[in-house]
Symmetry: C2
Subunit: 475 residues, 2 copies
């Protein structure tokens, strides 16, 4: 058990005293300085921004306990780093200044209250979205955000994530009713009451969504829920060029189709999928994967018709759609295995996952320019995108220990980020800023905007203890 | 022309110097101290919180001019009060400390850029939502917020308004992509770029939505747009008791029906409507007005079927729905004339409009308890609600100059607000806080939450010049 308290003392005097105080407010076994636990909570294989591990990891079981922990951290000027799923990509839970990691995975992963009539649910930050949806399924409900497997609601609030469903359902910002927060001083507050809408005061809920633990610790979340679509099917269509495929998206948005998802996979990605599972037998051309969902078969059939006509207009090939559950699973399988199958294109490579987003009208240009840049590189870079909202991920495959490859990955990433900014876009659609993207924030938002964010940060966290060195650039 | 500059000098030395400085950055005729203009921009017939008029009204034509105005206000420590439609109800543009009113109605009411492929539009704050929708209609698009007639986008951002469409489309918070803001120091910033989603930094857009001009001046707004539904119809159904009618709502939400609107009018309101237009011939029982809209007739027909079955389960009478455009207009007419026809119940009365919202499961109880309270009063109080999201308005009819009636109106309002708070609700679903509701904020949100709002306010506006005495309670 990684959280088992080890017997060796913490490293610094301050950490040792803190450790002893923490053990006065938490059970001894919920305060750990075990080296493995520290590493597990500070380092990530998915991130190239590992800048340190915490000194202590704590496993509280209530908001009250979190408040006590934060008060102790405040007293000793130690950083606080919240941790839930640990799946983030930009160094969000790295601890460059050490400090106390608050892990929600062990004892704060529960459903606190379920209100089916209101279609909302109150949960703790350590619950995984997949477990939540498993629970909700038997109620005919679901929570529509679908980030990577293993992600927890706490981190999803922190990064304002979304996923393939975002084109229809939006992002975390649209699906959180209120948050319970422990402030940097250790006070407890709820951002607002539980109705679906309210105009009572500043929107603190949204301020915390996407703030990545830098303004306080979120300990409870009320989520809106959606009714599980009674009908759902998927379809696949290939295109001669990636520009043709991308050009489908603005038309689709303009037609007002309430599509469930529309995912673009480029030729390289399709090749990787065929390597992973040749039986899927996809063509190795740029391909759109569609999900159709709605309250009845008539609605879904109507939408398939509209979308297949748009696809045809843009030189789409045969519009293959699933006629039963087995075919549906088969067709969507290709999309599901995209990330891990991409590594088959370059054995032993690491994946640098990019996350730009632009207005959909700019998508064809952005993708065309990016493809040109990537094709001129010696690194394979398959691409998959939640293109319905202008967001896509390039997986840059490179060897971490090879300096030339690392430099090339960095160069491609930087080019892509700056290209997106130039096209009125953002360096991150859903993964967040963390350490990895903070140096691009001034360029994307302008200095006055970043300055206002800094003013808020300093006002709420004057000591700079809440997840330091994340989100906001240093200068 | 109310903005014509009068020749009498402003009242105080400070205001006079300010006036002269303003005339150096704006054309003389865009800086007014005309008494009528000051009154028009400071007093409202719809509000019982008229606490003063501005000293000067300015009519800028650009963000740059607004920045210059704010710098001058900052130099002389004069309040800034933004003004657009002037339709708000809670004293939002009252000027208890005098100051400079920035009016957007004359020269900042334009469409700046329209991006049909991205389904967004950039507008200035002085544009009316109805004019915007008139422009968009020929594009097959619309902006779904529908507050009272005459409201402008600037004020709609300020109060985070919504309207009858909110049950389907949500509120302003879901329909604004970015804002251009002049900060209290007179700096210009854009809250974020133009993609539909982004995880790049704190959500300043949402922080400004609902902040009622207290954190800075919004000068440009990028709005998301929706495709005009190809099919739309309306239906009406009466119920034996208001509790039966209210009980339809949670079932409807739970069934996942994408209803366009669902409005509840109580028996008194139906009586008022019949007084206003006897030809409509509605029964004088609690009545639900439904709007159904969707991409095709099959979708709409399907939803009518589901909803009529739910209505029947709750003792609903005949489910009358419009079979053509004329019938549709006739049926919806009742809902449209509700506010002004309510005054027929008490000649020469003023209307005190309340705006509570609760989780929909609490709605039947809240409405039943409120009805009981209202029935025991000597004032007529018809009720109309956007009940699909738990929000409703009681129109308390009273004579402003009659002390007993005024006291009774105040008592009924206070009871209602406290009842909503007790039921996990909010004192304002869509009208905002202004002066009228700030004293209820601590009770609704808790002191720690309000304190965090105050910390943000002080950090961004340390001199307290931006629309002073609004939103946040004094203690």
């Amino acid at each position: 058990m990684p959280w088992l308290m080890c017997l060796t003392p913490p490293y610094s005097m301050k950490a040792r005293i803190t450790f002893n105080e923490l053990r006065q407010v938490l059970p001894a076994e919920h305060v750990s300085v075990d080296e493995e636990a520290l590493q597990d909570h500070g380092y990530s294989n998915n991130s190239y921004h590992n800048e340190g591990a915490p000194n202590i990891v704590v496993f509280p079981k209530s908001t009250q306990e979190v408040a006590e922990i934060v008060k102790i951290a405040n007293k000793f000027n130690l950083p606080i780093i919240p941790f839930s799923g640990g799946t983030s990509l930009e160094g969000h839970f790295s601890a460059p200044k050490g400090g106390i990691c608050i892990s929600f995975t062990e004892h704060m992963d529960q459903i606190v209250a379920f209100h089916p009539q209101d279609m909302d649910i109150v949960v703790q930050p350590g619950i995984q979205w997949e477990d939540l949806n498993f629970y909700l399924k038997k109620q005919g409900l679901f929570f529509p955000m679908d980030p990577g497997p293993g992600a927890c609601i706490g981190g999803m609030v922190g990064t304002s994530c979304s996923g393939t469903n975002a084109v229809r359902y939006g992002t975390m910002r649209e699906w959180v009713i209120n948050l319970t927060v422990v402030t940097p001083e250790g006070k407890i507050l709820k951002t607002r009451q539980r109705p679906r809408k309210s105009s009572a005061g500043y929107d603190l809920t949204k301020l915390f969504i996407g703030s990545e633990g830098t303004l306080g610790v979120v300990t409870e979340i009320t989520l809106k829920l959606a009714v599980l679509p009674q009908e759902e099917t998927v379809a696949v269509c290939d295109f001669p060029t990636i520009r043709d495929a991308a050009a489908v998206v603005p038309d689709l948005v303009r037609a007002g189709v309430q599509i469930g998802a529309v995912e673009l996979l480029d030729a390289q990605m399709m090749k990787a999928i065929n390597l992973a599972n040749p039986e899927l037998g996809h063509s190795e051309k740029p391909t759109l994967f569609f999900k159709f969902s709605g309250g009845s078969k008539v609605i879904v059939d109507h939408e398939i018709k509209v979308v297949s006509e748009i696809a045809k207009k843009h030189q789409g090939g045969t519009f293959k759609y699933a006629k039963n559950e087995a075919e549906k699973a088969d067709l969507w399988e290709g999309r599901k295995i995209a990330l891990w199958s991409s590594t088959l294109l370059k054995p032993e490579a690491s994946v640098w996952t990019t996350d730009v987003v632009v207005p959909v009208s700019k998508l064809p240009d952005l993708i065309a320019e990016t493809t040109k840049d990537l094709e001129s590189s010696f690194l394979p870079c398959p691409m998959v995108g939640h293109v319905g909202d202008g967001n896509f991920h390039v997986f840059i495959l490179f060897k971490k220990d090879d300096k030339k490859e690392y430099a090339e990955a960095k160069r491609l990433n930087k080019n892509l980020l700056e290209r997106a900014i130039r096209m009125e876009g953002s360096v991150t659609g859903e993964h967040g800023v963390g350490i990895g993207k903070k140096m691009f924030l001034n360029q994307e938002l302008g200095e006055n905007t970043v300055d206002m964010m800094k003013t808020i940060k300093i006002a709420l966290d004057p000591k700079g203890l809440m997840n330091p060195e994340k989100v906001l650039p240093d200068n």
